[in-house]
Symmetry: C2
Subunit: 317 residues, 2 copies
């Protein structure tokens, strides 16, 4: 089992590499090669390689994919805020880069498993709630549109037997460790991560803003399950929402208070940001991920668990 993580230097890529290295196998086979690939070669987890690749470079992508991989996790992307601010960059990386990955995978042969990290940002527009597995996609960000377009191409490559593709729509993953980034959803981690560590953070939306979210632990477990689930069980529905929880910002802050005490919440400021608000108000939280639940994907039991996981995995470490 040779496993490749594109976007392997990012927060999820590193956690995924760590989880794969720790379990040592995937799809019932021992992992013989594990590579973390990113624009700059990542510092790999123990047992993995760190490789540099710009997926907008078609030839370089073909060369790397051509080395032969049994499972490819495609997490490489520019995030929502940047894709909205820079249409050309988003199209180059999120769309054309993904096309290069698909081209490389089909040229390599062997129909590798390809897990594409899509996003809840594909939902939006005039589509009525609830967002079940068979609703139309009317993304209200360029990031979401690019992810949705790639989903279609992944599914078509899978239909043709060129890859064994699975596109999973990630909830907002919170609490993310590290620094704020250019994702419009970045504050959804900052307002917990910073206050829990004695710093202030701003919440640019109101307390009643609802989020479809999951913890890093759960999303890593689901990404691995996405590679392992039986392709035949997917049917034609090879792009689908992962389970998540729907909570408002206020409910999540209350959960943080129950775990860590009342101090943290006092460090949150509440200045509205119309740019962020315009993007995230186009997102949706009313999902019904029946397909994923039937296939054994999971959600967090509570946001309290999520806060505890962050304190254990990222603050203690």
């Amino acid at each position: 089992m040779r496993a490749l993580i594109l976007g392997g230097g990012g927060f999820l890529g590193r956690k995924l590499a760590g989880a794969l290295a720790a379990r040592g196998s995937l799809r019932g086979a021992a992992i013989s090669r594990l590579a973390q690939v990113d624009l700059a070669a990542p510092e790999p987890v123990s047992g993995a390689e760190g490789l540099a690749l710009d997926i907008t470079d078609r030839a370089a992508t073909a060369a790397l994919l051509g080395q032969g991989w049994d499972a490819i996790f495609h997490l490489a992307a520019v995030v929502s805020g940047q894709a909205e601010a820079e249409l050309e960059t988003g199209l180059a990386v999120n769309l054309q880069g993904s096309l290069n990955v698909l081209e490389g995978a089909r040229a390599a042969g062997g129909a590798p498993v390809l897990v594409f990290a899509s996003s809840v940002a594909v939902y939006g527009g005039d589509v009525p709630d609830p967002l079940h597995d068979f609703v139309a996609l009317q993304p209200q960000t360029s990031y979401g549109a690019q992810k949705a377009a790639v989903e279609l191409l992944v599914s078509d490559h899978a239909r043709r037997g060129l890859i064994d593709g699975r596109s999973v729509r990630l909830p907002t993953v919170t609490v993310r460790p590290g620094k704020p980034n250019a994702a419009a959803s970045s504050f959804m981690s900052s307002i917990f991560r910073e206050p829990l560590q004695g710093q202030t953070a701003n919440c640019p939306v109101g307390e009643d803003y609802p989020i479809w979210h999951c913890s890093p632990r759960v999303v890593i477990r689901n990404l691995i399950h996405a590679a392992e689930v039986d392709g035949a069980a997917l049917g034609a529905t090879r792009a689908f929402a992962l389970p998540g929880r729907r909570d408002t910002v206020g409910e999540m802050i209350a959960a943080m208070t129950r775990v860590a005490g009342p101090e943290a919440a006092t460090r949150i400021t509440w200045e509205r940001d119309p740019v962020i608000e315009r993007i995230v108000m186009g997102w949706r939280a009313g999902l019904r991920p029946d397909h994923a639940l039937r296939l054994g994907f999971v959600a967090d039991a509570s946001f309290e668990d999520n806060i505890r996981g962050f304190l254990e995995d990222d603050v203690a470490a």
Copy 2:
């Protein structure tokens, strides 16, 4: 009003050019320039220009689009049969070519109206009937997947105000004049066109195969309406099915017999073609095009009218 027809040398492009030239105006403005563009410069209708362009040529596409157009009809594509047989060709023309068109349109500025000819081929898969305006797309052909991906990018460009985009999903257009082509649906015209003119034609599917179809007259009327309909009335639903009729092959043949007598139907042979069948069985006929009907798009009253229209417009001429 400067109007550009990409794919202007094809059957629909020529009819559209003729209709636009005949009415002389679009969106309430006199047409001052009308161009039919295709791989080889088309013989233009009276009052139009014929120009050569390969939309896979990014620079040439940018140069043509940069000349300044108020309305762009994007009908240029490789058809379903070819896109299924040659994945790379379909991706190059239907996807990358369309990306070049969008790039040219956004670089030109002025947010031109862009009517993208999508297709009922975007529907399929595990999505339950009826196919209303808010159902997921699980295309079962590469042609359909490429069209669906472009729809998303057209809608995103429209959302950003870069174009005033509208993607309309064409039913199977029958009866097409001329020769059979590489479209998997080609037989749906052949079995009427050839027998009505004394020749034999083969039907590769059974009599009970249902088709979502419309006549050339109606689709041209709807394409023009797609350019004229008020953008604000579309909301976020800028990709939608055009009205059509659902009839079986057998019902359509009966209609031909009622108009033209019993001779024609005896010229149809019934040899199954598994390649064609595999493609067209993935298509769907149970559509509910409510959005389009509300916006004033129309369907044929009967297939008899459609046969009469073919005899008047294409056989007599």
